[in-house]
């Protein structure tokens, strides 16, 4: 008899863990940084064509709420996370005493983007003229 066996749920039910969260965000930030690296030059060359000719676009970018992160801010955040996670990964791979240092690394890892986040925040509040 040809009965198709079902697959039990995986992504929908599995409880996220620290290591899996680190891993997927490392992948997401890496993919994002890769696109930015490849297309940022093209973006910088071509954005003038849109913003200086299409008036409504320029006005909307002016009138947007100040707390929305620009592409530059997102890229910097992704870079901070990616680098700190990469360092953490190397550290965990070569040093075997994980349990004792887990909280230590957790703190370091999440405080690494701290300066960037505060800079981004300050930039959003002082944004008066242009992005």
């Amino acid at each position: 008899m040809s009965i198709k066996r079902p697959l039990p749920p995986h992504l929908t039910i599995y409880k996220p863990q620290l290591t899996s969260t680190f891993s997927i965000f490392h992948r997401i930030s890496g993919a994002f940084l890769a696109t930015m690296v490849l297309f940022s030059s093209l973006f910088c060359l071509k954005i003038g064509l849109i913003s200086f000719t299409y008036e409504k676009f320029y006005q909307s970018s002016f009138n947007l709420p100040k707390f929305i992160l620009s592409l530059v801010d997102l890229t910097a955040l992704a870079l901070c996370y990616h680098i700190s996670n990469g360092v953490r990964h190397l550290f965990w791979d070569f040093y075997l005493n994980l349990c004792r240092l887990l909280q230590f690394h957790f703190i370091i890892h999440f405080s690494a983007p701290g300066p960037e986040v505060s800079l981004a925040f300050s930039r959003t509040t002082n944004r008066a003229r242009s992005v």
Binding site: P6, L7, P8, P9, H10, Y14
Partner: protein, 224 residues
């Protein structure tokens, strides 16, 4: 502490309907019994290959006061008392065989070592190992997993006969290298929790198999 008086002896009821008195006393006794029960909801994954319907989560309510502490005890009680068609694998009941591996509340474990969460406000959700084909209810097809284990040839390979001609001697340092590797019971919980193994089970060997490959590599035969 307030003592509960038998309602049959209440002054005001003595002259009223005796039948009503008896019923009230009886219902008070059963209320006490029912309040003493600690009902926990178990939502268990069900699928029968002989029935043409889709998989579903079936709710079972168990009295935790009558049940053993581990999730496997709960499953056995369900099978004994409520639904004997519930299908799951189990053997030792103490976490050394790896038969009862399943997903409990979002984490893969062996059911015989996972205590039941006593919080009765939330249900416990029991599903089979994620992204492994289901044969019936909580039993999954581990053929691919076992074939991958066979593929790494998990046995001692001696290139030379033993140095003294009698046996291969293992020093305590060499034995220490196996700590953390030999304990694997091949329950498939780790492989079934790996997203890379979910998306590519044919190409990727999985954490369990790779760990065992390393176990045999770091064993004495590698030096020989």
């Amino acid at each position: 502490m307030r003592r509960w008086r038998n309602p049959l002896n209440f002054q005001c009821l003595r002259n009223s309907n005796e039948r009503a008195q008896e019923m009230a006393a009886k219902s008070q006794a059963t209320v006490k019994e029912k309040v003493g029960k600690k009902l926990k909801d178990f939502k268990v994954f069900r699928w029968n290959p002989e029935k043409p319907e889709r998989p579903y989560l079936q709710s079972f309510h168990l009295d935790l006061n009558q049940c053993g502490p581990m999730v496997l005890d709960a499953l056995q009680m369900i099978k004994a008392e409520e639904d004997s068609t519930l299908c799951f694998m189990r053997s030792c009941g103490e976490g050394v065989c790896g038969s009862c591996s399943m997903n409990i509340d979002g984490t893969n474990t062996v059911a015989c070592l996972r205590p039941i969460d006593a919080n009765t406000t939330k249900p416990t959700i029991v599903t089979p190992l994620p992204h492994m084909f289901v044969m019936k209810d909580l039993v999954v097809d581990l053929t691919n997993f076992y074939n991958q284990y066979k593929f790494v040839e998990p046995w001692l390979k001696a290139k030379k006969p033993p140095p003294d001609g009698l046996e291969y001697r293992q020093s305590p340092e060499e034995r220490k290298k196996l700590d953390g590797l030999y304990e694997c019971i091949l329950c498939a919980c780790c492989s079934a929790s790996c997203p890379a193994y979910w998306w590519n089970p044919e190409e990727f060997l999985g954490p369990a198999t790779l760990l065992q490959a390393y176990r045999w590599i770091s064993d004495i035969d590698f030096k020989l």
